[in-house]
């Protein structure tokens, strides 16, 4: 891990941007190599490991039996949390969840939840009495930039390969968790004055605004989030959205390729 030299680095990124180049040699809308593994972890009912450039993320799915909320007696629940623990980078400190980790967990959660890919009614066992609570925990192990997209990918891959442990809880036979679509997140950061896709660690050091977009199978928007200081125009957003569509489709295929393994 190189020592951060923010000002020099920022100038270098700007100089490269003037030639439409990036610090790690990629094109503006190019993605780093992504490796996805599923089903690695004993005890997790679904799990995935994403290696995305220098970023390494694990996600694990656990189930519990719950009493449903009184106003939604036939619906289970979904909970998605992310932890930016100090294992992941020298910049993360121990302590209560930081605003960054809360934002990360909530943005990933909204993308999955709002896509409707999990039918909450399908998690009902006995109406008003017993439903499944599905909990996805994301563990960032190495932050090499763009952890949002890596976490979103790990979460949906872990869900799509999860087995509901009904036998252990004595409520029927184990079965696949039904997940009807594959919402995928694409993130952009302003670096050298313009937006780039899939920022690396050095590009994130500038601290300029990020935009996170979650697209579903039909290219509908399910979640948006603008983070960090900075302003952007509707025209910039339109350009970004177009790039997101292509990459989300590619990564959706990657997830599909790991299912049924």
């Amino acid at each position: 891990m190189a020592a951060p030299v923010p000002n020099l680095l920022r100038q270098e990124i700007e100089r490269l941007a003037a030639d439409d180049k990036r610090i790690d040699g990629r094109g503006r809308w190019e993605r780093r190599a992504v490796d996805l593994e599923v089903g690695l972890l004993y005890n997790a009912e679904g799990s995935a490991k994403v290696t995305w450039g220098g970023t390494v993320v694990y996600a694990g799915v656990k189930f519990e039996l719950r009493t449903p909320w009184p106003d939604r007696p036939t619906q289970g629940s979904l909970m998605c949390g992310a932890e930016l623990r100090p294992v992941a980078h020298v910049k993360y400190e121990p302590g209560p969840p930081s605003p960054e980790s809360i934002e990360l967990g909530r943005v990933v959660d909204r993308g999955i939840r709002e896509s409707g890919c999990i039918d909450m009614e399908s998690l009902c066992i006995v109406p008003g009495e017993k439903v499944w609570g599905v909990m996805i925990d994301i563990h960032v192990m190495s932050d090499g930039g763009n952890i949002f997209d890596a976490c979103g990918l790990a979460a949906i891959a872990a869900l799509r390969t999860a087995i509901v442990p009904a036998e252990r809880f004595d409520v029927g036979e184990d079965h696949v968790l039904g997940v009807s679509s594959t919402p995928i997140m694409a993130s952009f950061t302003r670096a050298g004055g313009r937006f780039v896709y899939d920022p690396c660690e050095e590009e994130e050091l500038g601290g300029d605004e990020r935009i996170h977009i979650t697209l579903g199978d039909t290219e509908h928007l399910h979640s948006l989030q603008k983070g960090l200081k900075g302003a952007f125009t509707p025209a910039e957003f339109a350009e970004i959205l177009d790039v997101a569509r292509k990459h989300c489709a590619e990564l959706r295929d990657l997830v599909a390729s790991k299912e049924g393994n």
Binding site: P97, E100, R110, H220, L221, L224, Q225, K226, A231, F232
Partner: protein
């Protein structure tokens, strides 16, 4: 969003909404500044039945030292819902939702406040929601930029918080509580009325790209209207000589 209540009727046969508004009509907005004597600057925003009040303190020396920035001020923003502001009482204390809203609100305001004018200092922005009827984060952003203006903090532009959304497959402006609970999407934005830039953006639910564009069009239209009310409130403050 997406609560699975697709069968709740939110549009009337005449195309109006349950409270009689047109689809591109926002709730009534009232704004006052200078409402809290102990604060450096303050504002009160009522949007529909929402009540958001904001106090600004500073610039003051940032401490502890490690939060200081050599070249600019830091904004310390808190969004908080009063325990009695919601249908069921909420326990005092900062929850995950409030932390996220505080973070994105701070980032929206950092995009307009001339922070470089106050190196090594801190500006505190305290947003309190006293009554919540959907749209409090937007009312809070509007209140915060008004309180900053009332405190005399220099800004590139004001920020207007406003949301559109989707109910019954129809894009509508400024969701109220029922529409928020039973609707299909929500698109809150923070718009700089002079530059037209976005400094805050969230969205959840389900929107096609065309629906997104229409919702954002409504947001810009409403931002212009709210901006006029903001300017009038600031003028009233200084006309009245209360400062």
């Amino acid at each position: 969003m997406m609560g699975g209540y697709g069968d709740v009727q939110l549009l009337r046969d005449d195309g109006k909404r349950l409270d009689g508004r047109a689809i591109d009509e926002m709730r009534p907005v009232e704004i006052k500044v200078g409402v809290l004597p102990a604060a450096q600057g303050s504002a009160w925003v009522k949007q529909g039945l929402n009540v958001a009040v904001c106090a600004v303190y500073g610039p003051m020396e940032a401490h502890p030292r490690k939060i200081q920035r050599q070249d600019r001020a830091v904004l310390d923003v808190r969004y908080n819902m009063a325990p009695f502001s919601t249908g069921d009482r909420i326990r005092p204390g900062f929850n995950r939702r409030a932390r996220e809203i505080s973070k994105v609100t701070a980032e929206a305001l950092e995009s307009v406040v001339l922070l470089e004018r106050f190196p090594r200092s801190k500006i505190r922005v305290e947003i309190e929601i006293l009554a919540a009827e959907a749209g409090t984060r937007c009312a809070g952003i509007t209140a915060a930029s008004m309180a900053l203006a009332d405190a005399g903090i220099p800004m590139r532009d004001l920020v207007v918080g406003i949301a559109s959304g989707k109910i019954q497959d129809t894009v509508v402006l400024d969701l109220d509580k029922a529409e928020d609970n039973y609707g299909q999407a929500d698109l809150p934005a923070g718009i700089c009325p002079n530059t037209g830039e976005l400094v805050f953006l969230q969205m959840d639910g389900d929107l096609s790209i065309d629906e997104y564009n229409l919702a954002m069009e409504y947001n810009y239209k409403a931002a212009a209207e709210i901006h006029e009310i903001m300017v009038a409130a600031l003028a009233a403050r200084y006309d009245g000589g209360e400062a």
